[in-house]
């Protein structure tokens, strides 16, 4: 029951519920209390752990199974959930609001990236596999059939007579039902390949869009950690209430 996808979805639901609770249970003094600070510190440490994934990926060059993204997602949901509780459901200071808002955007961009990007990536891989299989079949059929002859025979293209004469192994006189069937099959395969290529183009464009999305996720993360730093510094500068 609790496979990785379910747990991720559960944590996502928990996070959304907390955000909703933000508007229902306002409690101003909580964030500055010992318990509130503890949750804020714990949440920040857990959020810092999310940086392990990009460090391993971009600095150490570890990708795929060597650097699974699941832990990044768990830290990226549990940490912010604690921070939401730490915030005490209170919109007060500009720095606090910016920190919270950027955290929300980072998490939401991460959730969207996780679910949509994974789907696009998977579909793109499937389409590429299909295209490769079709290409193999096309090459096989092409070796068995005279393409130029087919073009003339089926009247599909404006084939030049000299092309037909150069490449053709069978003429109008040689055609029979088997040759016609092979020619039509070749055309069908070519059409399927064209459709796949079109789909791959579309999915590749979407994937490129998502690479920009990932970049945005990274920029937002940089902004978030800058805001967290300012938030911590101002909190210490003006004095921790519980000391």
């Amino acid at each position: 029951m609790f496979n990785e996808n379910n747990i991720t979805a559960l944590i996502a639901v928990f996070f959304v519920a907390l955000v909703l609770g933000f508007f229902i249970f306002p409690s101003q003094p909580f964030c500055g209390s010992p318990a509130g600070h503890f949750l804020g510190i714990a949440g920040t440490i857990i959020m810092l752990l999310t940086l392990i994934y990009p460090f391993r990926k971009r600095v150490q060059g570890k990708k795929g199974k060597k650097n699974p993204i699941n832990t990044h997602i768990y830290y990226g949901l549990i940490g912010p959930s604690l921070v939401v509780v730490h915030s005490g459901h209170d919109f007060s200071s500009l720095i606090g609001n910016l920190t919270f808002l950027s955290m929300l955007l980072v998490v939401l961009s991460g959730i969207v990236g996780k679910f949509l990007f994974k789907r696009v990536n998977r579909t793109l891989r499937d389409e590429k596999d299909d295209l490769a299989a079709l290409k193999r079949l096309f090459r096989k059929r092409k070796d068995e059939t005279a393409v130029l002859g087919c073009r003339l025979y089926l009247g599909l293209e404006n084939a030049e007579p000299q092309e037909a004469a150069a490449g053709s192994v069978f003429s109008f006189q040689d055609t029979d039902e088997v040759a016609e069937e092979r020619c039509r099959e070749l055309v069908d395969i070519a059409r399927s390949m064209a459709e796949r290529e079109h789909a791959i183009e579309a999915f590749t464009a979407t994937k490129n869009l998502f690479s920009r999305w990932t970049r945005m996720h990274i920029y937002l993360t940089v902004f978030l950690f800058a805001m967290i730093l300012v938030h911590i510094l101002t909190t210490v500068y003006y004095g921790l209430r519980w000391i």
């Binding site: 101003q28 003094p29 500055g32 209170d90 007060s92 200071s93 500009l94 720095i95 606090g96 910016l98 920029y219 940089v222 902004f223 800058a226 805001m227 730093l229 300012v230 510094l233 101002t234 909190t235 210490v236 500068y237 003006y238 004095g239 921790l240 209430r241 000391i243």
Partner: protein
């Protein structure tokens, strides 16, 4: 060329962060109350990297001579934990005082600050029934069974002042007994039980 966007973005973020840190208003967690609205800047109350302390409060609020203060404020003379009860930045109209009775001197009488809703009937030892963290009483607790002060709280019904009714009581319920002095209405315990027993006329041999 490729690094222009990330480097520029990073510089912008750093610049914005520094501006936020230096901007007092950006860190303000809520408006000050009317009483402190004239504070010039954050450092009026906050010591950088240390925060607010009772010493900062006492620069303006003085409690060395409390004789001029109203009785309910005089305990401030000995109490110096301002921040335990007073918290700011809760909005202009917010109440910034939230009393923490656990900080108070045990010798203080509750009636010095609180109006006695029992009108003195229950005495001065409020803490026998009321807690310090909550004023709510955990259920009613009646004085002991052998208590003789019923009339402090209970009033006899009008019937008990009726001569005919009173005559019946004396004749029927104290038959054969010599009454050395006349029974008074406030001597409830002569006929009535006190809790935990029923208030009914259990002590009487027969009911009226």
């Amino acid at each position: 060329m490729k690094k222009i966007v990330p480097v520029t973005s990073l510089l912008l973020v750093v610049g914005f962060s520094v501006w936020l840190f230096l901007n007092d208003k950006a860190a303000e967690p809520g408006a000050l109350s009317h009483s402190h609205a004239d504070a010039h800047d954050c450092e009026t109350c906050h010591v950088p990297w240390k925060g607010v302390s009772a010493e900062m409060c006492l620069q303006c609020h003085e409690f060395t001579d409390v004789t001029n203060l109203s009785p309910e404020l005089r305990f401030h003379e000995t109490e110096q934990y301002c921040l335990r009860c007073h918290q700011e930045h809760r909005g202009a109209t917010a109440k910034i005082s939230q009393m923490d009775h656990t900080l108070l001197n045990g010798d203080l009488l509750c009636s010095q600050c609180h109006l006695d809703r029992h009108k003195g009937l229950f005495g001065q030892q409020c803490r026998e029934c009321h807690g310090i963290t909550t004023w709510k009483v955990q259920g009613f607790r009646h004085p002991p069974e052998d208590g003789r002060n019923c009339s402090r709280c209970h009033k006899a019904p009008r019937s008990h002042y009726d001569e005919h009714f009173w005559g019946l009581i004396e004749n029927d319920h104290f038959q054969g007994q010599t009454q050395t002095k006349p029974i008074e209405v406030k001597e409830c315990w002569l006929c009535h039980n006190a809790p935990p027993h029923s208030w009914r006329h259990r002590k009487m041999e027969q009911k009226l």
